[in-house]
Symmetry: C2
Subunit: 567 residues, 2 copies
């Protein structure tokens, strides 16, 4: 298990700051974090802003914009740069000059005209943008921006943004050709498309390009059983005329690559959608393995799906257009990852989640008296006879693990342990003989209630749960006896326990010896590895911890049984 | 299952921007995101900065700082405000005036003197800070800053920051009293403390306050078995004199509350540690349920532990002091969360992860011919006889589910289904009689290989795995037959299949009927609920998906068996 952290893709955003945290570099940094990349930022302007609007703007001098850029790229070269609000022509021209020197993927969200139709860039800045386009790999205008850039006008609608699907496709192609940006995604949020338009285009184009439905369904009637309950994906005959779909058009070298189709999401929380989508494109590009087929398509599918889910799962904030939920890609860890300084977060959590319970087991009076040599012999004998029964079930539990295993590796690990326990049982027998207990006596001693309760609990958990549950049910015996062995050894050093002249010397030596502690170490590493590879959620961790606690309690009761001669 | 998102705690950071993304508002926003809160930000200065140093600073006018603050707080009131680099006295004085009007938790990281000893605030600004302290709930100076504030001088060391533990405690108390900040955490990174000092303080103070070890171990010798392999937590006699520990001292109302002890982390990636810790304190405060006991202690434990793990799990970036890993609190989701627009992300994933396989099952030639009424009677009879065997195992699988269940709710759900299947078997028998197949014939028909392969796979998965594995193994039969029923019904509407005069009419009616589709709906909802409550990691999802694919394949083979009369 390597604890060395890998380098993360570095994404630089060059954009404005939104004090409310919903758009601008704040939305970008949140998105970059969600994709597991490192985010850096160059600010072009600060806004005093909230969900209701922009109350003030502080522009950053072009030379300080460039100074920020130089500081970042001279130290760690970004894999992708996302350009958002660029504020004015002097910043745009200065950036164009610098970006020409860099060899990196550039995503441009023009941030010229807001969703509400408001112009965000002065006219000379819009002109200056022409310098940038040829440097751009992914360009994401909305319809008014594309119209502004190309001078396109609708033949069918008085409201220039209300294009039909054919017009959108035409506009996307023209924008691609005119700007010379490598790939253009024309965002269709300003117009509504009917199901019939999609079906007609699909019929006519005969598969020349892909049509993606929101959640990845590439076929209109493949999954009846889900559309029963979420009928939005279906276009029943009766609904084909309703204009309720949003389509984004992806073009590359003047040719349509794909249409992304989804139902308009009925949400007020769309502040920062454009920022989020363009940054998600940069992140999807940077995190995608090289040389996968259909690379561009995958990048856009991922980024669009991320953004739509971020809107659909948004949370209440402010009194106007709220932010997206950027964090939906991840779930809270129940445990920290293992590091050099905390290599055993799982076992450490198990023990510390109920320290008094753990102490009641590993520092039980039975153990203390055993270490001092004052434990009555009959108590130890009662314990050791029951331990013989327990060991048999403990071996069976490992055999059950092998039965439930999915890999030869696991089968081998479990059968090795089961076999080892079976062989050790012979040593157990001869050790018992040294106390005058015969094999016959061992076998004919009835199983005590505490022994049966514990052993059968282990077997039941193993039967009921999966292989990790089973590992949990056998862990506290292994780890706890290691702890007892080590603690007793330390007590001997401190003069609180004795080895020489102690009736139980061999027992103490066995559990503090190299062989047994090696097994303990392997057991701990195995648990940590499994947990690190498949980190449990809070719910799963709670279940695993409950098994651990129950086993620790039953272990403690097992010592009680010895000390109090419980049948 | 509610799909409504809850409001998140709103944390506002007022600080500088670090273009490299490691410190300042960038570190703050990343930390806030990690804690599942909403981050907003007010900038006091921009820096052109990288991991090697600060190359340029652009100060923000005090009135624009206040304008940003007003925009944010007038729209969504923050639960906590974190103050970082405040740049100059006019910003500090303007902020003090505004903050006095707000009733919110304030965390102040003074950012006066850097870890390397560099002074970051001009002298008049340090004086102006006196206005702020009384407004502060949590104050986190490092040793040089606390010395600067209090004029404290060490009695034992020439290097004024190299305090011993007793001096640190004294300095923390004086800082608390002098500033009137509610709680002070004196960060000990500038000095090193020996194990002996801790043991002596512990002995003398007799539990007046808590001493926390890095990973939460409050006892020096409780967990021998872990310290065997990560010995840093232990202070063996021989090492007690070594000064290798870092101690943070927490004081409240002039009294020590706790010492946080850890080994110095040997990492170059500490850029932004102070920003991260103070923001983590704000987040830990905001996300903690009200009225928990030891509230302040828990907040600091959580924030310190978060920050240390962020350093210990940091990744390579740049050529100087790299950033922390802010994202370590979460793991990547393998599936998006369910939303109103995508309520079935899990079942949708299962089906779409191999659409051709799914189609080979639900649109199998056996199904197509059955719908048209052209399926040879002997094929259907062969199928229906084997289906009788399969149903028995399918009922057994649900009984096994009840056996493996942990709650009465699950036991009831599973036994209901098993009982329902057993009762339905009588209808199956009478349906078979309509084809002239007697119960005797049904029972004496040998199980075909495809039937045995499928049925025993389901039973084996149920035995081997946990209850979710078992649910997976029975899901594709339920959901797939629902799909077949619905699809055939639609084909009838389209004239591609027929109901009237079709020998298999009753079969088609059963699987497209309300009863069966209700069971399908409950099955889908049950799976989605379990997955939403305990979201699978990539590894777990891959295992579940593999079970689904295998079952779909075996279902398809079951149709093959019917169509080709396979024994």
């Amino acid at each position: 298990m390597s604890l060395e952290a890998k380098k993360r893709p570095h994404i630089l955003t060059i954009a404005g700051s939104d004090s409310s945290g919903g758009a601008g570099i704040q939305a970008d940094l949140k998105t970059i974090e969600a994709f597991g990349c490192h985010g850096s930022s160059v600010m072009t302007a600060l806004t005093a802003q909230n969900t209701k609007g922009v109350q003030g703007v502080h522009e950053i001098p072009a030379d300080f914009v460039i100074q920020q850029l130089k500081s970042v790229v001279s130290d760690d070269y970004p894999r992708c740069i996302k350009l958002g609000m660029l504020t004015n022509s002097s910043i745009i021209l200065a950036l164009s000059k610098e970006l020409k020197k860099l060899d990196t993927i550039v995503v441009l969200d023009p941030v010229m005209i807001s969703t509400s139709g408001h112009t965000l860039l002065p006219e000379d800045a819009i002109q200056a943008m022409n310098e940038l386009y040829p440097l751009v790999d992914y360009f994401t205008p909305n319809i008014p921006e594309a119209i502004k850039l190309t001078g396109y006008s609708s033949r069918t609608s008085e409201n220039s943004s209300q294009l039909n699907l054919e017009e959108m496709i035409e506009l996307a192609k023209i924008t691609n050709t005119k700007t010379r940006a490598f790939t253009v995604l024309l965002k269709g949020g300003h117009t509504s498309i009917s199901g019939r338009e999609i079906l007609e285009i699909r019929k006519r184009e005969k598969g020349d390009y892909e049509i993606f439905w929101e959640e990845g369904d590439d076929d209109l009637d493949t999954i009846e059983v889900l559309s029963l309950y979420s009928s939005y994906k279906q276009i029943p005959q009766s609904k084909q005329e309703e204009k309720e779909l949003v389509v984004d058009v992806l073009v590359n070298k003047g040719e349509v690559v794909a249409l992304f189709v989804g139902k308009k999401i009925d949400s007020n929380n769309t502040h920062g959608t454009g920022c989020t989508l363009s940054t998600a494109i940069a992140c999807a590009h940077a995190t995608q393995p090289r040389d996968v087929p259909n690379a561009i398509l995958r990048i856009f599918k991922k980024a669009i799906s991320y953004t739509k889910t971020a809107i659909a799962s948004s949370y209440p904030f402010g009194h106007g257009h709220g932010p997206l939920n950027h964090a939906h890609l991840s779930v809270r860890r129940a445990l920290p990852p293992p590091t050099k300084y905390n290599p055993h977060p799982f076992v450490s959590h198990l023990i510390q989640s109920n320290l008094p319970l753990w102490k009641s087991y590993v520092k039980h009076p039975f153990v203390v008296q055993l270490g001092k040599g004052t434990l009555p012999k009959e108590c130890f004998e009662h314990y050791i006879k029951q331990d013989y029964h327990y060991l048999k079930h403990y071996a069976r539990a490992h055999a059950l693990g092998a039965y439930k295993a999915s890999t030869f590796e696991d089968i081998k690990a479990f059968t090795d342990i089961a076999g080892h326990i079976a062989r050790e049982s012979e040593m157990h027998v001869s050790y018992c003989e040294s106390f005058g207990i015969s094999l016959d006596q061992l076998q004919s001693t009835p199983e005590s209630a505490p022994c049966a309760a514990y052993a059968r609990y282990v077997i039941d958990i193993g039967t009921q749960g999966d292989i990790l549950d089973l590992y949990m049910s056998v862990a506290s015996c292994l780890i706890g006896y290691g702890e007892v062995g080590l603690w007793l050894k330390k007590q001997v050093e401190l003069g609180e326990a004795k080895m020489e002249g102690n009736l139980y010397k061999k027992w103490m030596e066995d559990y503090s010896g190299k062989d047994f502690l090696g097994a303990v170490e392997r057991g701990i590493e195995n648990l940590e590895r499994r947990i690190a590879e498949d980190p449990p959620t809070e719910a799963r961790l709670a279940r695993l911890t409950a098994i651990w606690h129950e086993c620790v309690r039953l272990e403690s009761a097992f010592w009680d049984m010895g000390l109090n001669l419980i049948k």
